[in-house]
């Protein structure tokens, strides 16, 4: 049976990630909005690499494209490239301290954002603003909390 226990809780975290990504915020906080969906994806890739994989990331990426109104596949490809490292090195990643993990997350989100910018630049002649990289910092700061909350959540619902 392909529907395993814990599909619904897993699904709910994806939805929460997507909702936080488009929730209206005051302008001065807007630029600092952490990249919630990427954080959620990185956590699940690391915690359940046998379950959450490239397929999930592809579908979530396409949903992001719809929500953001960007050309189909921009966010999907950036997220896929970003997802490679956490799946490949999930065991090493799990043993890092929270600070080290936060640094790695910052690098991953940086890669994702630069890819999105580059694709947007090729397709739509986007112009670069430094503010586009602020979320790299805020995501790294948010990571320990996301990690602890999701770990508790995963254990509570016994998602394996």
């Amino acid at each position: 049976m392909w529907i395993k226990a814990g599909l619904l809780p897993l699904f709910i975290t994806y939805i929460i990630g997507l909702v936080l990504m488009v929730m209206p915020m005051p302008l001065f906080l807007e630029a600092w909005r952490p990249d919630w969906l990427s954080l959620v994806i990185i956590y699940w890739l690391m915690a359940l690499p046998h379950r959450v994989g490239m397929g999930t990331v592809l579908i979530l990426g396409l949903m992001t494209d719809i929500l953001m109104g960007s050309v189909f596949g921009i966010y999907a490809s950036a997220l896929l490239v970003m997802a490679y490292a956490p799946i490949r090195h999930f065991q090493r990643f799990r043993n890092y301290s929270l600070t080290q993990q936060a640094l790695v997350v910052a690098v991953l989100i940086f890669i994702k954002r630069v890819l999105v910018y580059q694709l947007e630049h090729w397709l739509n002649d986007a112009v670069f603003h430094v503010s586009y990289l602020y979320p790299v910092i805020s995501s790294a700061i948010a990571w320990p909390w996301v990690y602890l909350i999701l770990r508790k959540y995963r254990r509570h619902y016994g998602i394996q």
Partner: protein, 293 residues
């Protein structure tokens, strides 16, 4: 637990497969523009996420509303009545001028301007990507919204409808990098082209000669030349002019009148020559909207 690498294709193969899938979709969407049906289907599918996103804000509004006291309401009511009276007086004059204008236009032999219809819409989500400034509103195909429709707020032009789902539509703001709008200075009728910069508070006027007669504080209104935005709506105010001779053109910046960063309620406009018709949800909305401009 089974190891990740014991079954199925390797990780790299799967990455390449998924990536090629995403890149194919990108090609289909961007180069061939064949994804529009899929796009509107998926937008309908994902609409609940957008409704969830504005839920906290609506709940807060509701709580604030419930917490308002009687005195506050009474005061507000008084203020609103005053404002209404002033506006009604202004409208009387406006109606008179409009009639006169129509008569004069008839005398001159040019077309009488026809009224346009409008409908209020609410913002349900924002796209936070700085490369494309978009809003999602709660009106769609079912209400007669069409692609390229002008959208205003109570201060000025906001943008145009970019894609339409069944119950929602996407609005591209004038501050978007891919948008440009043809404007006219109200003071001296100089025609200018304003391009979005990606900054919500700024538009850049393009190809302005150094000798231009524009001044800081000039009001820019839509010129109606692009065919999308109707003529005469306020759009932006000039905030800085840099006449540095080393640049090829003067660098002129303008600030949009519409509060693009905090719009909540928008106005959809159906120009008189639009083939689509607005479909109102309820009676009360119709009653509020039958006063045409």
């Amino acid at each position: 637990m089974k190891s990740l690498f014991e079954r199925g294709p390797t990780l790299l193969t799967r990455l390449v497969l998924a990536l090629s899938c995403a890149l194919t979709l990108m090609f289909l969407d961007h180069r061939l523009n064949t994804m529009q049906p899929v796009r509107s289907f998926m937008s309908t599918l994902i609409a609940p996420v957008q409704y969830l996103a504005v839920l906290p804000e609506q709940v807060m509004d509701r709580i604030v509303y419930l917490a308002t006291t009687r005195t506050m309401l009474r005061n507000e009511n008084k203020l609103l009545k005053q404002e209404l009276e002033e506006l009604q007086m202004a409208v009387q004059r406006l109606n008179f001028l409009e009639n006169e204008n129509d008569r004069l236009r008839q005398l001159l032999g040019s077309d009488v301007r026809e009224a346009s219809r409008r409908m209020a819409a609410e913002v349900v989500a924002v796209a936070t990507d700085p490369f494309s400034h978009q809003l999602v509103i709660n009106k769609g195909l079912a209400n007669g919204v069409y692609e390229g429709q002008p959208v205003l707020d109570n201060r000025g032009v906001v943008g145009q409808v970019m894609s339409v789902g069944r119950g929602t539509a996407r609005v591209l703001l004038i501050a978007d990098q891919s948008q440009a709008i043809s404007l006219r200075a109200e003071r001296n009728d100089i025609r200018v082209l304003a391009k979005g910069t990606g900054d919500l508070q700024q538009l850049e006027l393009q190809f302005i000669p150094h000798s231009t007669d524009l001044e800081v504080g000039d009001k820019l209104v839509s010129s109606g030349l692009g065919g999308i935005y109707p003529e005469g709506y306020p759009v932006a105010e000039i905030i800085s002019i840099d006449r540095n001779e080393r640049l090829q053109y003067a660098r002129v910046l303008a600030r949009p009148y519409a509060q693009l960063d905090r719009v909540r309620t928008l106005l959809l406009l159906w120009p008189a020559d639009a083939t689509e018709q607005p479909v109102y949800d309820t009676e009360e909305e119709t009653a509020g909207n039958d006063h045409v401009d």
